[in-house]
């Protein structure tokens, strides 16, 4: 061994992103390297910052709904739901039963689609090109379902303050039924082709450890928290909408590593299907919109409402001053807060493992940058 090698290698600063294939959007991090070992990470965000919170202050409550679609654009019904339910809570609006069920169906479909994108992109980050295609193929069917009802595939804009913006046609229900019947088999297929693979397991197991204590201290929520051994889900802890009527489990894993953060998504997809099936069985007939005033004018007050987004907890803190425009809208984005654990899970590992660890957090930059 040469003398130089024994002294260690020169420290290297590596700039990854914002245009890097593994960065899931415009995330940038400056990585400090000692050889191949990561000794420091500095995340840089804000490349997609659109100032949604400022925009909200100059728009009416209804006008802001389409903006929320652009937060986590892979699961836009969740963002709609968090926002409209926060306003409804503030105003005390009662939503019709049918609309509540439709909301849950859309939210769970979106969760399913979001997890499919997660599997595909996480597989791609470790060069799993085959596993990329399968989830995306099936996600098309969810996007088709969205298109059938709302006319758009990604930014669905499905919900209104007081209900839904549409009632699906009979074709929707037929397509949904065949989708729900086909999917369990497909989840198995994704598993076999991605996580069941020995090479994938070798890459992901015992990599990117996020202990339970660290996760709680860093305010981590969502699948990343549940993969660290905390059984916490807003749908159970503080049921919003009508989630308390459904029978489903909150999966929890204790491995705390990248593998478990991947695995938990597979388990959650199964639970989503369970919820959709129950909602399809129980959905009543009736209107999908409550009678709300033309001009939405919540009373003076404030509310913090949170929902379980596929990436973590999405919260809206809305302060109303009694006018048709909100005084302040604060968005608590799950992916934004979750990014803080990057240093915890990345420092001390190899740079190629850092890519898997980052992918396992499932950050969507639309939500991170607001």
């Amino acid at each position: 061994m040469s003398e130089m090698y024994q002294e260690g290698t020169e420290e290297l600063l590596l700039n990854m992103g914002p245009q890097h294939p593994s960065m899931h959007g415009v995330f940038r991090m400056i990585v400090r390297l000692q050889g191949e070992t990561v000794t420091g990470i500095e995340p840089k965000i804000g490349y997609l910052h659109r100032g949604l919170e400022k925009l909200a202050e100059s728009r009416t409550y209804t006008q802001f709904i389409p903006y929320t679609d652009r937060l986590d654009y892979l699961a836009s019904p969740h963002n709609n739901m968090a926002y409209v339910q926060a306003v409804e809570k503030l105003m005390g609006v009662e939503v019709p039963e049918r609309a509540e069920y439709l909301r849950i169906i859309f939210a769970e479909l979106a969760r399913f689609a979001s997890h499919q994108v997660f599997i595909a992109s996480a597989a791609l980050d470790i060069a799993g090109w085959t596993a990329w295609g399968y989830p995306f193929r099936d996600r098309e069917r969810i996007l088709d379902l969205f298109e059938m009802t709302s006319g758009s595939r990604l930014t669905v804009n499905a919900m209104r303050i007081g209900g839904m913006s549409f009632d699906p046609t009979p074709e929707f229900w037929a397509a949904l039924e065949s989708f729900v019947d086909d999917m369990p088999e497909k989840i198995e297929e994704y598993y076999n082709i991605y996580l069941g693979n020995e090479i994938t397991q070798g890459r992901l197991k015992n990599v990117g450890i996020l202990s339970k204590e660290a996760a709680e201290n860093l305010c981590i929520t969502g699948p990343a928290l549940r993969a660290s051994g905390v059984q916490y889900d807003v749908r159970k802890a503080e049921p919003y909408g009508i989630y308390d009527r459904f029978d489903f489990d909150v999966p929890v894993l204790y491995g705390c590593d990248s593998f478990d953060r991947n695995m938990i998504r597979f388990l959650e997809m199964n639970e989503s299907l369970k919820i959709i099936r129950q909602a399809m069985r129980d959905i009543p007939e009736g209107p999908v919109m409550a009678k709300v005033p033309k001009i939405i004018k919540p009373p003076v007050g404030e509310v913090y409402h949170r929902v379980e987004n596929p990436k973590g907890e999405l919260g809206f803190y809305i302060v109303s001053n009694g006018t048709p425009k909100p005084e302040r809208v604060k968005i608590r984005a799950g992916a934004f807060v979750n990014l803080q654990c990057l240093e915890e899970i990345g420092v001390g590992t190899y740079i190629q493992d850092l890519i898997c660890s980052f992918a396992s957090l499932d950050a969507v930059l639309g939500e991170v940058d607001k």
């Binding site: 860093l218 913090y304 919260g315």
Partner: protein, 163 residues
């Protein structure tokens, strides 16, 4: 005594100690204190007996024109208790203690509040702008921040009869 009553009692006791005001808003207890008491308040809330509010969800700044509020949303991962703490800080010189020593996860949230409102969090390990670029001037979410005027163009094509 139910969970809510216990929480109410603990919050009342704490409010008497830190000279705060307790009110109920929709479904949450709200404790309003002066900015100087924030570390004491949040440390106590995190360690409430029986009803610890030990999980921090969010830190939001709110510009009330006369003053700035820093709003902390807290719950627990093991119980239904919810608490919102509002700290009042001066608008001209907004300074407040950082809570990153209590929750490491407050790091990004405080950086965001600094970026948008100019609130100085003393004791923060890395208080830099997070969304805006480093030499950006002003604090965008303050009410007196003037946004650039939006240029409105008439994009509709006018059709003339002789075409």
């Amino acid at each position: 005594m139910g969970n809510n009553d216990v929480l109410r009692k603990r919050v009342d006791e704490l409010a008497a100690r830190v000279n705060g005001k307790v009110e109920e808003m929709i479904d949450t207890l709200v404790l309003t204190v002066q900015g100087a008491y924030i570390t004491e308040t949040l440390t106590a809330a995190k360690n409430f007996a029986d009803v610890p509010c030990d999980f921090l969800h969010d830190i939001a700044g709110v510009d009330k024109v006369t003053h700035i509020e820093v709003v902390y949303q807290m719950t627990s991962l093991r119980g239904p208790q919810k608490l919102r703490v509002k700290a009042i800080v001066d608008r001209e010189k907004p300074v407040i203690d950082s809570v990153t020593r209590i929750w490491a996860g407050a790091n990004f949230m405080e950086r965001e509040a600094y970026d948008m409102f100019g609130i100085q969090f003393t004791g923060h390990p890395n208080l830099k702008r997070i969304y805006m670029w480093d030499d950006f001037e002003g604090f965008p979410l303050r009410k007196d921040y003037v946004t650039e005027p939006v240029e409105v163009r008439n994009t509709m094509r006018v059709r003339r009869d002789d075409e």
